[in-house]
């Protein structure tokens, strides 16, 4: 599950740099911005069949690869 999320992330931002440090701030590293963050949300919604409203995605809860995976896990569990 976590790896699937990371695969989606890699597809969207077109680099695997983030895998070196899964706790690095993706916005600070300029790997994510408002635009790619939405592209990621759309892709994740589609892949995991969950709903991720943009205004729920507070930057500080959504800024590292690990946190993103945690949130998706939570959302999938909520649904089940």
């Amino acid at each position: 599950m976590r790896n699937e999320v990371f695969d989606v992330l890699e597809e969207v931002i077109e680099t695997d740099e983030f895998r070196d440090d899964l706790d690095a701030d993706l916005f600070e590293e300029t790997l994510l911005d408002s635009l790619t963050a939405i592209a990621l949300i759309v892709e994740l919604e589609d892949r995991f069949k969950v709903s991720l409203p943009p205004s729920e995605m507070e930057r500080d809860e959504w800024n590292t690869a690990n946190k993103i995976a945690d949130r998706i896990q939570e959302k999938v569990n909520e649904k089940a």
Binding site: S34, L35, T36, A37, I38, A39, I41, V42, E45, S51, P53, P54, S55, E56
Partner: protein, 405 residues
């Protein structure tokens, strides 16, 4: 009496807040007293004019709308897109009427349903409607909504708070770290005095007033540059000072509302600038216009070109932000100008990435980017000031009115 406009207002407000300070310090928030202060001060600010009725009518109208949408969305658990759009349109309708009135009937520019702060309240209502739709807000208790809407310190010009943030503080039984918050609040108010009543006042009285008239009567490069810097600095000190008052008073009342300005003139690029200037407004547009529009376009697959999607959304964001200031050509141009700056900056970033351009990060490059951003932003302020518009009108007919800052 406009909020925060005179020392007298602060003295009366300060006295009214003393019982609240004591009570919060003792662990009681005294919500009834907060409401009483709000009613008295709103009455004082708006009484003797039709705007008091406009203010109250607006609250009734939006409460009915929000409660109806809450019923539809939560109780009925329905989620039709067109119902959502209709609700958003109805929520914006009063603001649209108020903004369009001066264009339709210039002899009576003030709509009877208008009041100081209507545009800021509209942002709050839309925040609630959109997040009800997104399933982030599950209930909107009426009293809580009304207090959020009419929250006294921010009513006339923001900062624009968010419902879910406000709700947490509203529902807490006590105020966390109140001594720190209180001290912070008092400091903000005094900093606001320095900004608005000293620096802003000096700029407008001794510089901007004359410079704006000179630039109108005798427009050339030099007079416009003078007008540009003095107006931009005045705008900052006046508005940032005002925001500091609103934040300070909120702090004293036990609310830690979001800040509006973080050293905007130290911004290194235009994106950085919008993370520092009128933050609650730009973040509102980022979250509720830009990001949602980008998402809609992506989900509906209207385009796969991310650059195009982003640029279109920037124009929507800044175009709307311009329109929101008012239906005049120079506000709209101001918005579009910033959209162009954002699109160009993104293009520059892509260019740097594609050519693996590494620009040294030292005091010189940093200084240059700050200076470049500063001047780009000030050109925007000049458009926004309306001074070029005065100059154009004056050159057409010298009996047209002169600016009076």
């Amino acid at each position: 009496m406009q909020p925060y406009s005179t020392p007298f207002y602060f003295i009366v407000l300060g006295l009214a807040l003393i019982p609240l300070i004591v009570s919060i310090s003792l662990g009681k928030k005294m919500l009834w007293y907060q409401v009483l202060v709000t009613i008295i001060f709103l009455g004082w600010s708006f009484s003797g004019s039709v705007t008091l009725w406009a203010l109250l009518g607006y609250g009734v109208y939006q409460s009915v709308l929000v409660k109806a949408y809450e019923y539809y969305r939560v109780k009925r658990a329905s989620n039709n897109t067109w119902v959502f759009y209709a609700t958003v349109l109805l929520a914006i309708l009063p603001l649209v009427i108020v903004k369009v009135t001066p264009t339709v009937d210039p002899s009576r520019p003030n709509s009877i349903i208008g009041f100081l702060g209507i545009s800021y309240l509209t942002f709050k209502v839309l925040n609630v409607v959109i997040e009800l739709r997104d399933d982030l807000i599950h209930q909107v208790p009426l009293r809580q909504f009304i207090y959020f809407l009419y929250f006294l310190p921010t009513i006339s010009s923001g900062p624009i708070d968010r419902y879910r943030r406000f709700e947490k503080e509203y529902q807490n039984r006590t105020v966390e770290n109140y001594p720190t918050l209180l001290g912070h609040g008092i400091f903000q108010i005094f900093l606001g005095f320095l900004y608005k009543f000293i620096i802003g006042h000096l700029i407008v009285t001794y510089i901007l007033h004359n410079v704006a008239i000179t630039a109108t009567v005798n427009p050339n490069f030099l007079t416009m540059v003078e007008a540009m810097y003095s107006y931009g600095l005045y705008l900052f000190f006046d508005f940032a000072g005002y925001s500091l008052f609103a934040i300070g008073v909120s702090n004293i009342m036990g609310y830690d509302i979001p800040i509006n300005f973080v050293r905007p003139f130290a911004a290194k690029n235009i994106k950085d600038f919008w993370n520092r200037w009128h933050i609650t407004l730009s973040f509102w547009f980022r979250d509720f216009v830009y990001m949602r529009l980008v998402k809609t376009i992506m989900v509906k697959r209207w385009s796969k070109n991310r650059i195009l999607i982003s640029n279109v959304s920037y124009f929507a964001l800044f175009g709307l932000m311009g329109l929101w200031h008012g239906l005049t050509w120079y506000y709209i141009v101001y918005g579009l100008y910033h959209a162009v700056l954002m699109v160009s900056y993104d293009a520059w970033l892509r260019y740097k990435r594609r050519h693996h351009l590494k620009i040294a990060d030292n005091w010189l490059t940093k200084g240059l980017s700050i200076a470049l951003t500063f001047n780009a932003v000030f050109i925007g302020f000049l458009i926004f000031s309306g001074i070029p518009n005065f100059a154009i009108l004056h050159s057409i007919n010298p009996s047209n009115p002169l600016p009076n800052f």
